[in-house]
Symmetry: C2
Subunit: 435 residues, 2 copies
């Protein structure tokens, strides 16, 4: 049978990433064809706004405001969903898959909330569903996890998955300025959204963590299962103290586990400076994956942006086209449940090391009282640094602990902060001693 | 049509990696089946030595000393070549492919020397040929380059591709000891071969560079095309001086280019310490890939070893099995020539920055004479550090240059070293200002 060699793309959503996809496809459609023998053709674009100038010309004859029309178009062999959010995007993806039409999406929120439904629709429709662009922008991390490391049980994943947060933390360290100041500058420069909550509160990172955890551990992990803490509470002095101790503060997604119970958590963490993860600066993302066969691996690159994300979308489109050309849809299924009884461990049970900054009066016996409370909750101290101050005033006391259970730490901090001598709530940041 | 769900593996070469493949397959054959629906079964093992204890039990009934018998065995659906070298390995791979039987190999030397022949045989035989394990051990770098970044023109690749060399250089810096001392210790500890030439002379790195360059630029690059310099000449004081200037010395494979001419070179280089590549220590490997769409990406992990390499072999085997199950052999061809007139640039024409260490008498006018010679060859100086010494004695003078052409540097150094005042040949190490 002679194979059809050209495949029509329908683009849902003509925003930043959609524009990048069109630009990249125009630049390298020939190159992709040389490398694969397959031609990807833009055949339809749907968006509610057909007028805005995106800096790229598209024939008005292939544009529509009706997403349903686009997915039903027989000229469209693959649907690329770049609308985002969980309303129209979900509806159109489900309809496409029900028609047996393959979908490529960058929609992390949708997969984190409705992954199980979408994956089931892909299976029922017998259609491909690819989502490389949903995590880590242009970094081929989904492909690495699902195909490259397929012979591994995943022991741990630590990811820096939000470029905006990493940029803010990097600049806070470099410039010695506050979160609020750096955020405002990042917003002015276009590196942070006007409403930065999705990024700085850790939600975007948690969406991506849900996707990686589901893939790695073979059961659906949802946003609601994940402990999430953002970077809004990080103070300049903690970045400075951490640096003095050989650490940097990063917003991490930590996914770890062996059997049925898996930790999935998003929070700021102290990471050793002289490590690969500790060296990730600015808007870059990185994902450290430890497999039981391969050992530690790491994947690094731009986690967002028009063209980097387009690079991932086009690699997915090539995969779809290859499957269409060889009549092998779902050669690599969107998701395979291989852990029937998987569940996310309660945050109470999670064990980590901690960095604590207590505000204590500079007089004898204060540290002893704090240490006593920690000890009573089975938390043992690894090191203490007391900063100089004037006698009688509150000074920051930095305590690094050995491993302790979260529930014990929560109770210990309640007691410590209830001491009348304590000047302010104790700051607590977890430590991840990645290598 | 009901698909066959179980695929027979024939292992050519029961050495370190072969043992790792058997161990990993035993540990995770079930997991791979859960994830893919496909069963990989070890059905034959060929080696000249059937007696040696490898720490893993194999049924004597499936062992043979005859590789030809193994590849002809109808029970064997995929041949895994782990013999190494270019004699029997080449012969058996060519025969397997001619039969239309897919091959998975880790043989970098063979691909670097006879890639064109092997790739042509795969095409003629209509069979899959996968070689993820040939570069970067367990790091899925071939997959990333060939599939994940398919929409990119590759602008540059900088790789730390030999774990032994990186271990030696890391230990020289950490312990402040000489190349010879650290190498001897590495040999005693089993981190370096009794005959270390293939590693420390850069040949192994060049084999891998040939494979990456061929894939990235779409024309066959052979070992003989590549400029190769090893790490045997690196002295402790250069590592120390480099550190003082904010650099580390790494053995790099540098592949760069745009059009028909591509640079492919292997040599020690100064890399900024505070970068991802500069942070790669010990036996780890890393590959920085800059694509014109995705920007910079990096892939990191163990570049050698029994289990890490087995992880890559098993991912290739899964790919082969998926292709067999969906009757889509050569869905991703082993190699696609997409640059008809590609060639490797002459080293003379390569432009880099340089670190120079000249041995000059500590008296007035010496530096001026050196600077004059450099200037006459269009080499401009970026900075100079003169180390303290006793008047009249030779002291090391460190010169960092701006970008200069290799041929100019070669001529300039000939003149400098011909000066009667120069105490020893000038040391020259290239600088790669990767980010």
């Amino acid at each position: 049978m002679k194979q059809k060699k050209s495949y029509g793309i329908g683009l849902l959503g003509f925003g930043t990433i959609g524009t990048g996809v069109i630009k990249a496809l125009r630049r390298h459609g020939d190159l992709i064809e040389q490398r694969t023998g397959l031609r990807l053709e833009l055949r339809a674009v749907a968006d509610i706004d057909l007028e805005r100038d995106r800096g790229v010309e598209v024939d008005r004859g292939i544009m529509t405001t009706d997403g349903n029309e686009l997915i039903a178009d027989p000229q469209v062999d693959v649907v690329v969903e770049l609308i985002g959010g969980i309303g129209a995007a979900r509806d159109l993806i489900l309809k496409s898959l029900a028609m047996g039409k393959p979908v490529v999406t960058a929609n992390k929120a949708l997969l984190a909330e409705y992954g199980a439904e979408i994956f089931a629709a892909a299976e029922e429709g017998g259609a491909d569903l690819f989502y490389e662009a949903s995590v880590g922008g242009g970094i081929p991390i989904i492909r690495a996890l699902r195909e490259g490391l397929i012979a591994n049980r995943i022991e741990k994943i630590c990811g820096i998955l939000n470029g905006t947060c990493n940029f803010i933390l990097t600049e806070m360290e470099r410039r010695g300025e506050s979160f609020a100041k750096v955020l405002a500058d990042a917003q002015a420069a276009g590196y942070a959204e006007a409403d930065p909550a999705l990024d700085v509160d850790g939600i975007d990172t948690a969406h991506k963590a849900a996707i990686l955890a589901s893939l790695a551990y073979g059961f659906p992990v949802r946003l609601g299962d994940i402990y999430v803490e953002g970077i809004g509470g990080i103070e300049g002095m903690d970045i400075e103290f951490a640096a003095g101790l050989g650490y940097r503060i990063k917003l991490l997604a930590v996914i770890a586990g062996g059997g049925e119970e898996v930790e999935v958590r998003v929070h700021p963490a102290l990471v050793p400076r002289e490590t690969m993860l500790g060296s990730v600066s600015g808007v870059y993302n990185a994902v450290l994956v430890r497999g039981d066969i391969v050992g530690e691996t790491l994947y690094y690159g731009r986690g967002a942006g028009s063209l980097p994300t387009a690079s991932a979308v086009l690699s997915d489109l090539t995969d779809v086209a290859r499957n269409l050309a060889s009549s092998s849809p779902r050669r690599v299924p969107a998701f395979v449940q291989h852990q029937a009884r998987g569940r996310v461990r309660s945050m109470d049970e999670v064990v980590t090391r901690y960095y604590l900054r207590a505000a204590l009066p500079d007089r004898p016996g204060m540290l002893a009282r704090v240490a006593q409370i920690l000890g009573r909750h089975q938390i043992s101290i690894a090191s203490v640094v007391q900063k100089e101050g004037r006698t009688g005033e509150h000074v920051p006391v930095i305590i690094l602990t050995h491993e302790a259970a979260e529930k014990n730490m929560v109770r210990a901090l309640q007691e410590i902060d209830a001491l009348e001598v304590v000047g302010a709530p104790t700051v607590r940041i977890r430590i991840e001693d990645v290598s």
